[in-house]
Symmetry: C2
Subunit: 329 residues, 2 copies
């Protein structure tokens, strides 16, 4: 910077002013400085800047170490939005979802000097950990979170599950079975709630939900326990991957979807449309959620005190080929 100042024949302060788009610089001076910068291939040192301003222009993201479709797309949604707003994105992935790991991850990000943190681990441990984040660090929970004291962006899981369940009941199914996610995941619980409550409202019997771990394998194994039963004509799976495992099990058992049994998933991963048959599912706009989370975080950073805003993104039922009326007896 001193070099640039020398070449342009101005003080370092004027260079700084040009750098920061101050309007207190004469156009011709600005031009002189700019050309000196070009000549010297000067680039502002963002570290020094961060030191003096106290803001690093970097946001931290705590993400679960997984290739689940949801978190990955959310991450990219965040990055894209952050980019547009002039922020860098630093990630820390946690391998296990206990509270300790999440807190350690947050600690790491704080040590790095991030200006704010987004947490996209939709697990109860993460939600709880968020409450322990020091009050001066802006935080937003994405995809799920505790109800109070921390801003949250989430898809309306209840509505999504209710929509899926209603769709199946509307086709004439007497009830709907549910292959749920792990109960320690907030989303899984909310989907159970939406499903159960819809069944109750419709006066339909509520079968016991069975819980998998989101993996195709768990869907496959749980489905094998279900295929023998005459009363199972419709299954609502808590995500598309488990739905895939279920499809596999049904096919092995010689059952045809949707003739013998209807199936609805959740997420709408890119593959869902090409399952055999194409999967009816509930679409979540993960990208948009990442975007909203980022905007909420910037909001919070701007206003100093932690808000408790809650942005809810609506899911959308996508009807494809895996659902139909129940077999007539």
């Amino acid at each position: 910077m001193a070099d640039v100042a020398r070449v342009a024949g101005v003080s370092h302060q004027t260079v700084s002013r040009v750098l920061n788009d101050s309007d207190l610089v004469r156009p011709e001076t600005r031009e002189r400085v700019l050309s000196a910068m070009r000549e010297l291939d000067y680039r502002r040192n963002s570290v020094a800047r961060a030191l003096v301003t106290g803001r690093s222009q970097t946001l931290g993201v705590v993400s679960f170490d997984t290739t689940l479709y949801g978190p990955a797309s959310t991450l990219f949604g965040i990055e894209r939005a952050a980019h547009e707003e002039g922020y860098f994105v630093s990630i820390v992935s946690v391998r296990s979802l206990d509270r300790e790991s999440v807190l350690t991850a947050i600690d790491r990000l704080q040590a790095q000097g991030v200006d704010g943190i987004l947490i996209i681990t939709p697990h109860e441990a993460a939600a709880e950990a968020v409450l322990h984040v020091p009050g001066d660090m802006p935080v937003v929970a994405v995809e799920a979170g505790p109800d109070e004291s921390v801003p949250v962006v989430a898809v309306d899981q209840f509505a999504g599950a209710a929509g899926a369940t209603r769709h199946l009941l509307g086709l004439g199914h007497r009830t709907v079975w549910h292959v749920a996610g792990p109960p320690s995941w907030l989303e899984a619980r909310q989907r159970i709630d939406g499903w159960r409550s819809t069944l109750k409202d419709a006066g339909a019997p509520v079968p016991p939900p069975v819980s998998g771990d989101w993996s195709p394998r768990s869907g496959y194994e749980l489905a094998r326990g279900l295929v023998g039963r005459q009363d199972v004509t419709a299954i609502f799976a808590a995500n598309d991957q488990m739905a895939l495992g279920i499809l596999h099990a049904l096919h092995e058992a010689g059952l045809e979807v949707p003739r013998d049994l209807s199936l609805v998933g959740f997420d709408d991963i890119p593959e869902a449309q090409y399952f055999t048959p194409a999967l009816t599912t509930v679409r979540q706009d993960f990208n948009e959620m990442g975007r909203q989370g980022l905007l909420l975080l910037l909001d919070e950073m701007g206003s100093a005190n932690r808000s408790s805003a809650r942005v809810v993104v609506q899911p959308e039922l996508v009807v494809r080929g895996s659902t139909a009326a129940p077999p007539s007896r």
Copy 2:
């Protein structure tokens, strides 16, 4: 830091020494300093540290904005390894894969002050862009890259494709058709090479490869152009998602896999095992590749001059239910 020094009754320099694990501190002094730190809840300011040392302990990753399974797992592999080595990870995702975007991304990371960069966009534009990175910035290309002047970590695509092709020929198929990835992707080209060369070596006819865009949709559409042909008994798809689309098209056309037609994918995404039928595919260890890439980068950072090391990770053929002998005529 000054406060800690005061409380511990030492100079700030000694505090710094404790912070940096210098062995020039008497154990009892160290203990005094440490307890002062605890008392004041002191945390080192990594930004100030970065300013004076010139290293930010942060690595940059340029990733393609996609939820393709490969890049996402590689990213996490990198993060995990970086974490272990005491580095932070900052990501920039690029939306389109032209050279300009990749260079801009690299620029952004440099402006942020990263100590090194990993590029996981296995596209020719990215590979070319890497060559334009200033020589003093350590770079590693992951998953693919140019042959010279930049260290590269990659799976042996040629061997993977060759293995898949040999497997199908070994089952008795007269030849193997190939649904390739976009030719602008280095990996796609290498898989074509491996496939073609294996066919030639075996004296089998080489059908013209058709190119998709990695998406299930493209696999589906390309497969519909193939299903009518009597001479197509085996297809090698360049990734699992296209294989899924192909399966869908075959099923629609009333063809049964593997009875009427055998199919092999590439990647071994978690879902592949639960396709109908379970997909024979070529597994790439993306996590390991991320890890190796990071280690290579640290190596390069340590040795000042850019090496041209090339780490090759071997893929593994995973035989499942989508391949069998050709139908007897």
